[in-house]
Symmetry: C2
Subunit: 350 residues, 2 copies
Amino acid sequence: MAHRARPTLETVAERAEVSRQTVSNVLNAPHVVADATRDRVLAAIDELGYRPNVAARQLRTRRSWVLGLRVPPASDGISGQVLDRFLHALTEVAQQAGLRIMLFTSGDDADEVREYQNLHSTAGVDGFVLANTHAGDGRTRWLTEQAIPFVTFGRPWDGDRSAADHAWIDIDGRSGIHAATRHLLDAGHRKIAFLGWPEGSGVGDDRYAGYLDALRTVPTAAPPLVRRCEDGVPTGMAAAADVLADDDVTALVCVSDSIALGAMAAIRDLAHTRPRRPAVALTGFDDTPVARAVDLTSVAQPVDRVAARAVGLLLSQMRPADQRVTMSAADRHVLIEPRLVVRATSQVPV
Amino acid sequence: MAHRARPTLETVAERAEVSRQTVSNVLNAPHVVADATRDRVLAAIDELGYRPNVAARQLRTRRSWVLGLRVPPASDGISGQVLDRFLHALTEVAQQAGLRIMLFTSGDDADEVREYQNLHSTAGVDGFVLANTHAGDGRTRWLTEQAIPFVTFGRPWDGDRSAADHAWIDIDGRSGIHAATRHLLDAGHRKIAFLGWPEGSGVGDDRYAGYLDALRTVPTAAPPLVRRCEDGVPTGMAAAADVLADDDVTALVCVSDSIALGAMAAIRDLAHTRPRRPAVALTGFDDTPVARAVDLTSVAQPVDRVAARAVGLLLSQMRPADQRVTMSAADRHVLIEPRLVVRATSQVPV
DNA sequence: CGGTCCGTGTTGAACGATCCAATCGACCAC
DNA sequence: GTGGTCGATTGGATCGTTCAACACGGACCG
């Protein structure tokens, strides 16, 4: 068969012997079309292989059904992987909901705002997903002012609640570390150390709180024992070696997989240099591919659930003003429970 | 200032006291507009904050300047990271060239072709970037038939050259492994083993060839010594332990970072269990974040250069037929030299 | 001096969809 | 039989841009 010009609404209408508008209705408001007519139109669409032209639709309706997502210039270290996994999950969920993801990059926040402007007003992107929120985030304020739909993955760590009253979804790191610590306590460990990041990061402090919570639930547990270091494998290794000098410590809870990976090496060395020392159980955070690879118990961030909620929240914001349901703050602020993935490193006898 | 309706060409035209078309010309064909007029129009554009509407433009010109990129449903293991890094690089390069990246997912190849169709004819995506080409790839054939611009990251491993005469870019793995092996030989190692994937994968066999090449350049080198295993940390550890039973082996060249990571653990154990054994040098492939984290020498894929060439090849395909320059096969098939990143694991005394 | 061409600018039509108001027919009530 | 209501369908206008054709004045040329 020869390659004909792409069929339009008009073509389909002629074929089905109805008007343009009726064809449009079949697609956008099927209930107003009589059954017989609808079948005829659908048949014509099928025969001609008709596909609507989104550019034309977007021009008329001012809706693109496209979401913008910023990807950081270079993926930094192991933890950047969570973002990558999120990106995959988001693409999948969005596609299922009839949305597309468009990528962009930018340097600093100001640059990013400029890109939002570009994408929104020029390309007609309907909304944005922001990852990596940080304190004093100017981006969220700008988007709020412009009344552009957006969701952040990551709660606002800002003290200023009024400026941060937007839709967000986050992982409950506190609860995740709680579960990890609790898992070790249940296995009989009593002196458990925490390897964390330097104080002051919202995420890190939150996770640390989970460790404290868990220790408090078991009266016979030793008091909190913390070592702090910058994220990274070598730093983690050093911190672990340090804290493991105390032979009573039989378990380590780490704030990240990078640090846990370093701790793993330290533990391995110890097994050789001081074979009589009690074995050490270990947990990480993020459940990165590396954790899976080296059989490290870790707290997994269910990025697919985050993505699903993000799309849901965006869709509700994209509804035309008259159909929008007012959502309470509780509905717009979602905290998702992470999942503890138990693997070999945490299952050593006490 | 009150929030006015978004300015259009018409608005700008009125302000600058010219016609619509002249404003359009200022943006798309500045040379046909007199200098004085152009300045007046540009001033008006600036004052009004005018931004063209891409939907309208796309409707008229049938060009969206958007590229489609498939992201795999779930990032699998450590090697999936190369793709993620490529995605970041591609976004950056594309944006600089005035293109946007749109994501989609799909199950099998047939499903993927359906999505190409959707994106191309419905959303008006101009071209595609394919990663993960494999033998007997039906997708490239379909895209070629439809005359849709596309580039693959990964050469066609197919025997059938005629069907695979499309634009592609790939990393020269053979040369990369050659460099790694050569690096070890230069350091004085003579009995070097290769930990590879099972025979039959195009990529794996290609890399293996690089190992053989390098050994041949040094007459005093021991004959090739290969262990093959599925990709992964535990499998790599076992394979390494096996081949390292031979005390003469002082260096390992690994086909991937995952396997190298396993080998690293095996080497570490050996250092404790048999301290008198000569130390072992080690190299990986992909230069993943993990490699950086554990200080592993690895062969880096310069994804940014791949991305740059990909965008270039796509742009040249997107030129209107009458302006297109015919490119030789050599121009359309790009093999990029990887870079050996030397770190601690390869720098052990012989 | 008339014709052609070039540089500059304008106007109407088209791209393919949706919104809106109007029409048409059938059916029902009075 | 007439008017009213309702559901189904229609034609025209519209979104913002670019394309095609043409108008105008001046330079250039035979």
